[in-house]
């Protein structure tokens, strides 16, 4: 039997999730004494194959089609390789690009699909752990099928390491160009501007709990008092209350300040991906079960509208009227 994982790369580099996916793949392969195959599609496939050749990887398939990710090519390439290998588990990353091709692949191959896996257990069948309701509950879903497609949440498994001795083999796909109906025309870095939150030693970060735009003055005053930089979670930027360059998270910036003060932030997984590297994390949130507390070093479980003014006053500042 075979487990097949599809690596991900962008602008010349393999993304970390490729190595994490290999780790899940090895775990699943060990459970049934299977081989772990990886595939890399497009770009510098030979160099990527060298990098992917790590401990526990049995075979690496290189598919030299295109430079960057294009879902029309990925769908055709994965379908062809799947037809050739008949893996019992097909692993893809639960990344933005994974979301852009994995459901189409599963649909085309009539495979049951479970997305955003955070745990897997393989015995007679396959049991997949995932979250619901914004991480408030975990669920286990059983898959009763000989073949399955899974997308794997980035950051949940350690990356495979060490040096391997995988067989590297080129796989040729006859791409039907008439089915390539989207064209990537470029990339753009967003969120430049005058402030680089990745440089900040201290970040005061605000989330949905601030409720109204005018209340932002409160956290701005705290940031001023502390000499800190203001950042935020996604909803604040979505609402247009702060520019994109202030957003911390998976689709924003990854920050590593000495101190990160999360105010009114629940700690959704997409946000955590951007701030978990902070040296000291402080959370102020009135919900004691908020996921941010799983990560925080210090916390105040109380109403931010009471705590933040008191904190400003502690340092001799004057909280604004809101």
């Amino acid at each position: 039997m075979t487990v097949l994982g599809i690596a991900e790369h962008r602008r010349g580099d393999l993304r970390d999730v490729s190595f994490e996916l290999a780790s899940v793949g090895r775990e699943l392969a060990d459970a049934t004494d299977s081989e772990l195959h990886l595939a890399v599609i497009g770009g510098e496939v030979e160099a990527f194959a060298d990098d992917l050749d790590r401990e526990g990887v049995d075979v690496i398939h290189t598919i030299d089609e295109g430079e960057e990710f294009n879902h029309d090519i990925y769908v055709q390439a994965v379908e062809a390789l799947h037809d050739d290998l008949s893996p019992d588990v097909l692993l893809m990353p639960h990344s933005v690009n994974g979301l852009d091709y994995a459901p189409a692949v599963a649909s085309r191959l009539s495979l049951p699909l479970v997305t955003d896996a955070i745990g897997v257990e393989r015995d007679d069948g396959l049991a997949v752990t995932r979250e619901m309701y914004g991480s408030k509950v975990e669920t286990v879903v059983d898959v009763d099928a000989d073949r399955v497609a899974l997308t794997v949440r980035p950051g949940e498994w350690p990356p495979v390491e060490g040096t391997g001795d995988a067989d590297v083999s080129a796989f040729a796909v006859d791409i039907d160009e008439s089915q390539v109906r989207s064209t990537v025309t470029g990339f753009e870095e967003v969120g430049g501007g005058d402030v680089d939150i990745t440089d900040a030693d201290v970040l005061v970060s605000v989330g949905r709990g601030i409720e109204e735009e005018e209340n932002l003055a409160l956290v701005e005053a705290l940031a001023d008092t502390l000499g800190a930089t203001l950042s935020s979670s996604r909803p604040i930027v979505d609402n247009g209350w702060l520019p994109k360059n202030r957003q911390v998270g998976q689709s924003g910036k990854v920050v590593t300040p000495d101190v990160y003060i999360a105010i009114g932030i629940s700690g959704a997984v997409q946000h955590v991906a951007g701030m978990k590297g902070a040296e000291t994390i402080v959370a102020i949130n009135d919900d004691p079960s908020a996921p941010i507390y799983d990560l925080a070093d210090y916390g105040i479980v109380d109403d931010l509208f009471d705590v933040v003014p008191a904190l400003i006053e502690e340092f001799g500042g004057e909280p604004p009227e809101i």
Binding site: R15, H94, V96, N97, L99, D100, A102, P103, A104, A106, R108, L113, V114, T115, D116, M132, Y133, G134, S135, V137, E138, T139, V141, D142, D144, P154, R181, S182, T183, V184, T185, F187, E188, E189, V190, G191, V202, L226, G227, A228, R234, P235, D238, K244, D258, V259, T280, V282, D287, S289, D294, A296, D297, G299, I300, V301, D302, V307, A310, F315
Partner: protein, 264 residues
């Protein structure tokens, strides 16, 4: 032209809740229009307002209770709505994205839209797969996680930005007809006006059963089943300050002084 927008009523869980078997006890759930779909509705209505002769139709898979949510979409400018539900769907323990995509595909075949907009994911189950699954089933091109859209009614191509990780956006041209999955922040969803809410009362919500769409109960029989649902164990080892806001703020201030964030 016609734009089909898929909308879902999603459940939100209160901070404190209890689990009842394989579900969160209904007492702790509140229902609302899926956040991502709200942006998809707005994107559709904006295309309608900018062009001529654009019909916006919403479709949802859900029980009668969802009519309240659908009315919100109608109040925001959707012209008419379709709601699919029947006893077979009500009796299905776990509606996975493949089942939803199959049902939505049947609706799309009937409606023959030029563009389909969906939210990237639903706030409750967060599969994130329905839109792209739907596109593949109906032979449309697609783009997932779209946070900017340049498209006018009748265009044979949509220029989109896809929000990748790490503050990078991909610029992509997509042939239409297409399914676009819409990311939050792409626009500023309008509030339903009182006039819109009044008008929504007279708009059609067409109820459909699986059989009306040429589907039978087999569509609900997937290989994926829910076997456990539980509150995850808290793994927090945070030092939580206790006391009044002044006391806890004082303790945090001491910490920040110790860390050298603030002098004195």
């Amino acid at each position: 032209m016609k734009i089909l927008v898929t909308v879902a009523e999603v459940a939100e869980v209160e901070d404190d809740f209890e689990v009842d078997g394989l579900a969160v006890d209904d007492r702790y759930l509140t229902y609302d229009l899926n956040e991502w779909d709200d942006y998809a509705v707005e994107a559709a209505v904006q295309i309608q307002e900018a062009g001529e002769d654009v019909e916006v139709v919403s479709v949802t898979v859900g029980p009668e209770r969802a009519d309240e949510t659908i009315r919100m979409a109608l109040a925001k400018g959707v012209d008419r709505a379709i709601r699919v539900w029947d006893d077979d769907l009500a009796g299905t323990e776990y509606l996975d994205s493949a089942t939803k995509a199959e049902i939505l595909a049947a609706v799309a075949e009937e409606e023959d839209p030029d563009l389909v907009l969906t939210g990237v994911q639903s706030g409750d189950s967060a599969f994130g797969a329905t839109g792209v699954s739907l596109a593949e089933r109906i032979g449309f091109e697609w783009a997932a996680v779209v946070n900017d859209l340049d498209y006018a009614a009748g265009d044979d191509e949509a220029s989109v930005r896809r929000e990748l990780e790490g503050g990078v956006e991909e610029l992509t041209d997509v042939e239409t007809p297409a399914v676009l999955t819409i990311q939050t922040g792409i626009n500023d969803p309008r509030y339903a006006s009182l006039r819109g809410i009044r008008q929504a009362q007279s708009k059609e919500i067409a109820p459909k059963k699986l059989a009306d769409l040429g589907l039978d109960a087999d569509v609900t029989e997937g290989a994926v089943s829910l076997t456990e649902l539980y509150e995850p164990e808290t793994v927090s080892d945070a030092t939580v300050y206790e006391g009044s806001p002044e006391e806890t703020a004082g303790q945090l201030a001491d910490l920040l002084r110790d860390k050298g964030v603030v002098e004195g």
